[in-house]
């Protein structure tokens, strides 16, 4: 189950990773012994049915959750041993997240939403503004700086979310069903952007999706999960080349 090449720099490494929840007397095994390796700059898609453990794995990589047992290393750091404060720093600088529901703060404008992670990183205001405007430029939202999320279309909201995820220049982009709330054309636009960042910035991308055709079109590797277990890994390089062409 290990498709990384010897000598490649690893962005993510999990070994026998488990995340169990207790609900009353029952134990939910969201992740049950997942071992995988993701190389730096790789575009990986996590596929599986609902409840297969895709989002749980993504949350553990993001440092939003702690594993029950096992090892999880992201950018060379063992997240299982990190404190809550250290995990916050990891989320701030190492990973960027894009969600299905966009998760923008409704009371803030596009510019303010994009700036927000830099406030937590204590970036000076002038530098913050410049970086946010550059990110907006990248996702094609330069004209929407002063708008609130409610004034944007779904695609624009997701592009704002993408710009926010990129603004602190993370090494890893984690996308949890980024096209789930978008029509296919808009979704393709978003995935094109993610794919561009992967190619031009060398950013590692881990994308959770239900849509296999999109995964096959953009991801270099497909990882299938079922009942919290990794059941299959599939290299996808030829289809990605075709999609790009």
């Amino acid at each position: 189950m290990n498709s990384s090449q010897p000598g490649d720099h690893l962005a993510i490494l999990t070994e026998d990773l488990r995340r169990h929840y207790k609900m009353g007397t029952a134990v939910i095994r969201a992740l049950d012994g997942v071992s995988l390796q993701i190389r730096a700059s790789e575009f990986v898609a996590l596929l599986g049915a609902s409840g297969s453990g895709k989002s749980s794995l993504l949350n553990l990589i993001a440092g939003l959750d702690h594993p029950t047992s096992g090892r999880i290393e992201v950018a060379g750091k063992n997240l299982a041993q990190m404190s809550r404060e250290e995990l916050a720093i990891h989320r701030r600088h190492t990973v960027g997240m894009v969600f299905q529901a966009f998760n923008l703060i409704p009371s803030m404008t596009v510019l303010e939403n994009i700036e927000l992670p830099m406030r937590f990183a204590e970036v000076p205001p002038a530098e913050r503004q410049a970086a946010a405007r550059e990110a907006m430029q990248r996702v094609g939202l330069a004209a929407r700086a002063g708008h609130r999320p409610s004034e944007l279309s779904g695609g624009e909201q997701q592009r704002t979310s993408l710009a926010r995820a990129l603004v602190n220049r993370p090494r890893i982009l984690l996308a949890d069903e980024p096209t789930g709330n978008l029509d296919s054309r808009t979704g393709t636009g978003i995935l094109n952007l993610i794919s561009d960042f992967n190619a031009s910035l060398g950013m590692t991308v881990v994308m959770v999706t239900h849509e296999r055709h999109l995964a096959e079109r953009y991801a270099q590797r497909l990882i299938f999960l079922e009942d919290g277990k990794l059941i299959e890994e599939k290299s996808n390089t030829p289809q990605l080349a075709e999609a790009r062409s």
């Binding site: 809550r84 404060e85 989320r91 937590f120």
Partner: protein
């Protein structure tokens, strides 16, 4: 997250629920206003009492006695300084020494004696007292009928109202059936009154007096010239220039004067004082001696130092500051109780802050999850809620001080209308000093921060995964 960003985000969040947060802030405003109102009343009353006492001329005065005349007002003094036998008498030389002490404005002898005054041919026995020119600002002479003495040596007299009543009615004890009118009192002003007294005459050392000496006991060790003194009966015609309703000498108790003369004039009259008889029979000094000397200091805060210096010189001291310690304790307790009652409203308001912030956590649960997902630490979230509580406390505090101050002004205005209707002089019973303004705002912020402790901790503990799932 840096402080300006925290404040910016906090204010932005508060603006999102303007009505609820404004009502919560209004609760703090009312609480602070109540606290300020209560304490301002306590402070105002204390300042009014202090003003009265300070203006009475008693607060900045140390009364000095010789230990040979009095043991001590305070028992502990018996063990320090000169003993009764070694203590010097209070004479002009000592008075001059007191005046040279640091922070002393003046040292004036207390000249008071019981003697006879004649008005309209009738004799009146009463206590006569010398008043220095510096007592002009004493509040006892503020609203008197007539005027203060025209000069140090003016042959003028100011009467205490009870004595003036006695001159008019001819009765020594006040009689409720006999009412003395203001016009009758006014009629006394400018009238003559004669003072009958005993003058102390000391024979010249070189030329023994030929006048008949008083019977001083012969002493083999003293020259005859020093062992004798004369007492000569004198009278002086004076003019009544003022009548005071207040008591300028409340501190003196039963030794209060009822007729006041310029001090310099009384000194010049060389009235034979009871203390001098004792002093002359004891040491055969030719110096005029006094029973007490009043030492006035520049500032009330310097009383203690001047008292210590005088004690070291071997004299007993007493000041009203000693006596007002219990008064200060009373006001401290009063302020404490007023503060506690005032704080009750603020305590209720603090529950409003807790409620508002807990509601905000429920409403902003997802937002907290988003912030955590993009890099906010538990500490950032905690600080954000803390600052929101602090901002509400600050604005509530500032508005509360303004409201409390306005209420105070209104009550003071109303009180003065009542006082004027009762023919009493207007008073400032309300004071909002700067320390109260700053203290109230700081207290409001601290209370608000304390109220924010639980909500902030709860927000910080939120699990981001759960929070992001929240709809």
């Amino acid at each position: 997250m840096k402080a300006p960003d925290l404040i910016d985000l906090a204010v932005r969040n508060l603006r999102e629920s303007v009505l609820r947060n404004s009502l919560t802030t209004l609760g703090i405003t009312v609480g602070v206003a109540s606290l300020v109102a209560m304490l301002a009343l306590g402070v105002g009353l204390q300042q009014m009492a202090n003003r009265r006492l300070a203006k009475s001329g008693l607060f900045d005065t140390v009364v000095v006695t010789s230990r040979r005349d009095f043991r001590s007002y305070n028992r502990e003094e018996r063990t320090t300084g000169a003993g009764a036998a070694q203590s010097r008498p209070l004479d002009e030389q000592v008075r001059a020494q007191f005046e040279k002490l640091p922070n002393v404005l003046e040292a004036t002898p207390d000249i008071r004696f019981i003697t006879e005054l004649r008005y309209d041919g009738k004799p009146h026995l009463t206590m006569v007292s010398g008043v220095p020119q510096s007592a002009r600002n004493n509040d006892a002479f503020d609203n008197m009928q007539g005027r203060f003495f025209g000069g140090d040596m003016a042959d003028e007299v100011i009467l205490q109202k009870e004595f003036a009543d006695e001159l008019i009615t001819g009765r020594e004890q006040p009689d409720s059936k006999v009412q003395v009118t203001a016009e009758q009192l006014q009629g006394l002003l400018g009238k003559g009154i004669s003072l009958h007294y005993a003058e102390r005459s000391v024979p010249d050392r070189n030329a023994p007096s030929e006048s008949a000496p008083a019977t001083a006991p012969p002493n083999n060790s003293e020259p005859a010239a020093l062992s004798s003194f004369s007492v000569i009966r004198r009278s002086r015609q004076l003019r009544i220039v003022g009548i005071t309703d207040q008591d300028p000498e409340g501190i003196r108790g039963s030794a209060r004067g009822r007729v006041f003369l310029p001090l310099k004039l009384l000194q010049d009259l060389k009235v034979m004082l009871p203390s001098e008889i004792r002093e002359n029979t004891r040491s055969f000094s030719n110096q005029q001696t006094y029973l007490t000397i009043s030492v006035r200091v520049k500032n009330t805060s310097q009383i203690q130092g001047v008292q210590e210096a005088i004690k070291k010189m071997g004299f007993n001291t007493f000041s009203i500051v000693d006596a007002t310690r219990s008064l200060r304790r009373f006001f401290a307790v009063l302020d404490l109780f007023l503060g506690i009652f005032g704080s009750l409203a603020l305590a209720v308001a603090s529950l409003g802050i807790v409620n508002t912030l807990v509601m905000a956590i429920l409403e902003r649960r997802r937002e907290i999850g988003i912030m955590k997902a993009i890099g906010a630490s538990d500490g950032d979230v905690k600080k954000l809620f803390f600052v929101e509580a602090g901002v509400m406390g600050f604005f509530g505090g500032v508005a509360g001080v303004l409201l409390g101050w306005s209420i105070g002004k209104l009550i003071n205005w109303g009180t003065n209308i009542y006082l004027v209707r009762q023919e009493l002089p207007p008073e400032t019973i309300w004071a909002v000093p700067w320390w109260l303004v700053a203290g109230a705002v700081v207290f409001a912020v601290v209370i608000s921060l304390c109220s924010g402790l639980y909500p902030a901790a709860r927000a910080a503990r939120l699990d981001p995964v759960q929070a992001l799932r929240y709809e």
